[in-house]
Amino acid sequence: MDLSRYLSLFVGEAAEHVAGLSHGLVALEQSVSTGSDAGPVIDGIFRHVHSVKGMSASMQLDGIATLAHRAEDLVDLYRRHLARAEPAAVDALLATCDALQEMIAAAALGQKPAPDPALLDRLGALTRQALDGRAAQAEPAPGPARAPVPPPAPPLAPVLPAEPEPALKPGPRRLEVEVEVAAACPVPAVRAFLVVKKLAAFGSLVGSTPTVEELKAGRLPGKKLTVVLESADPLDRIERALSQISDLGAVVIRAQDGQVSTPARAPAAPAQPAAAESSRTVRVRTEVLDGFVDTVGELLIATARIREVGRALPPGLRPLLDEGVDRLHAIVKELHGQLMGVRMTPLAVVTERLPRIARDVARKLGRQVEVEVQGAEIELDRAILEELSDPLLHLLRNAVDHGIEPPHLRLLAGKPATGRITISARRDRDRVVLEVADDGKGMSAGRLREAAVRRGALDAEQAAALTEREALALATLPGVSTAEEVTDVSGRGVGLDAVRKTLETVGGTLELESTRGLGTRITLRLPLTVAVQPVLLVRVGEEVLGLPIAKVHGAVQVLYGALDRSRGAPVLPYDGELVPVHDLAALLGFDSAGRDERAVVVADGADGRIGLVVDGLLGQHEAVLKPLGPPLQAVSGLSAVTVLGTGRPVFILDVTRLLAA
């Protein structure tokens, strides 16, 4: 059998099982510590490790199979209630997960990885220890010698249905059946057991050598089985039944009446070549999907271009063309939507590993943490998920390291010793809202103010003027952190600041709420997809620029000269607050049209809302965003480029970094 064509399917599915295994182990440890019923969790763990073993053995990846088998032996003890999962064992099993993951990755590259002998020994030792511990406990006290009991005929229910009785049936006679199990059979005792079962259906079993109990214990000396039974059935019928059992060598049936039968065993049928694979799913490399997105984006642009050209046609011809272009546009949009649907990936891909990581971090720091993930089934564009992975990890580590208190402090504060971190996701119209909340000690606005002053981000007066919410937002500025000491857990100074920046590159935002003593909640808002974004087109002098609608709050017509400048820079009263206003033309070094009647677009800047003065508003546009290549990507304040139907390229502004430019 050519196994290579199963490889990608194997890699994908085996990796899922390893992830499930890791997940289950963390849940197991939690249920052991809370005393809840671990049975279903252990069953799940066993299933995952068992599947990995079976799949890898089938792929002839013996190294993976060996390691999984060793882990399975240990888990099986828990499943059969022969031992309890100690933390050291869970550690070893988690290390096994990591090793399996690496081995599967190596297998994906066509290698046949060997297991780490030290890890095999560790698992073996744990299994032996668990068994020894039990043996020591279970050693029965020596009791009075029992009288030898004759081996009872095992109570066996007939397995095969009785065939219709012949009209004239001879009386039952005693039969002795001798069977040899083929040397190639990997599990001879099971084979022999099957023979006993099938024979039992033909009458009543008198006895067997070895006994059924011995077979159940896996014993079949010399691979030979002798069964004695009382049966009225003709020998050929019994013969036929035995001929349907594989892996048997010589069979001899002796009847009390002197009849002997030694049916010849037919050799195994030659195998037919396997037919072409017929599966209903295909796995596609993600790069292929990215290519599709680009191509469909080009189609959207080309469609807009045709529409634009059509404007030059004589009025009589335009309706016909417009109708065609409308139809084309609808189809391309549909195609784009379907394609984006294919790229949607459940959040679970990035949240799956978080409980395990939280557990490792907590163990290292002497904390107790339970992580709950809600809404992991919610889907996001793959590109956003990829960007989300590190920030989420960072937020989680922060929560464990800086949020959750050590158990004794938690108890003093009247909280349960085990801290709780909830990662929850929900859809909110065209966005996904992701919250990371902990019930730890919360953040101190006062300490953040002090830190900001100490690092020179603010002077004391400015710091004091900040509201509670603004002070908390300081945590997302570069270099402001209240962690007393730098630990290797939540990074060195690259904290929330880096998280916020990463989110903004995909059009997301970060909000922070915290209550001293009760915990912290960080809310991330993310777009579902990145590739097509509605933008507001604005005119600055001769230039046309785009602002992501997601960042825009609104726009107002103003007389530029009449803006309130009593505090130096112009401000605009908007929605109950005074928004600082910046001249976009001046920021970008363009020439403004210079008219006094202009528009101010209010958008989310790095530190709150800002107003951007433009010469005109051109309306909304569905922009296919293309990333900037060098050297333009180095220009701060620009995030992407799009092409209008006229063929004109338009830069999309990165509002949050505009002022830093």
């Binding site: 599947s51 799949m55 397995v159 249905p161 099971v190 037919q272 037919a275 072409a276």
Partner: protein
């Protein structure tokens, strides 16, 4: 008439592999099930000539599924797909009424030989 086969395994990977073994060897794979619950349902619905049954599966194990299928159809032919180290489970499955078993990792010819024998075609 090709014999109709139902494949029960929680791994798509294993199902595909077993399906490929049957396809083109005079069998018709009429259905697949990914757990014991589905297996019992599909068996009732499809009445296959042969069922290959994984043992360790979510929701309902292959052993329980076998017991239920045999209860409803004592002549059902079920071949267990087991792994090394599962001897006691296979014996339990045989007691539940399984007709035979194959041990993973298996070769195509082994699988075909076992099922052809068990169907009395050899």
């Amino acid at each position: 008439m090709p014999k109709r086969v139902l494949i029960v395994d929680d791994a798509i990977f294993m199902r595909n592999m077993i399906k490929d073994i049957f396809a083109g060897s005079g069998f018709e794979v009429v259905g697949e099930a990914a757990n014991g619950l589905e297996a019992v349902e599909k068996h009732r619905e499809l009445k296959p000539d042969l069922t290959t049954m994984d043992i360790v599966m979510p929701f309902k194990s292959g052993i329980e599924a076998t017991r239920e299928i045999i209860k409803g159809d004592p002549r059902a032919v079920i071949v267990m797909c087991s792994a090394l180290g599962q001897e006691s489970l296979v014996m339990e499955a045989i007691e539940a009424g399984a007709s035979d078993f194959i041990v993973k990792p298996f070769k195509a010819e082994d699988v075909l030989s076992v099922v052809k024998k068990v169907l009395g075609e050899v």
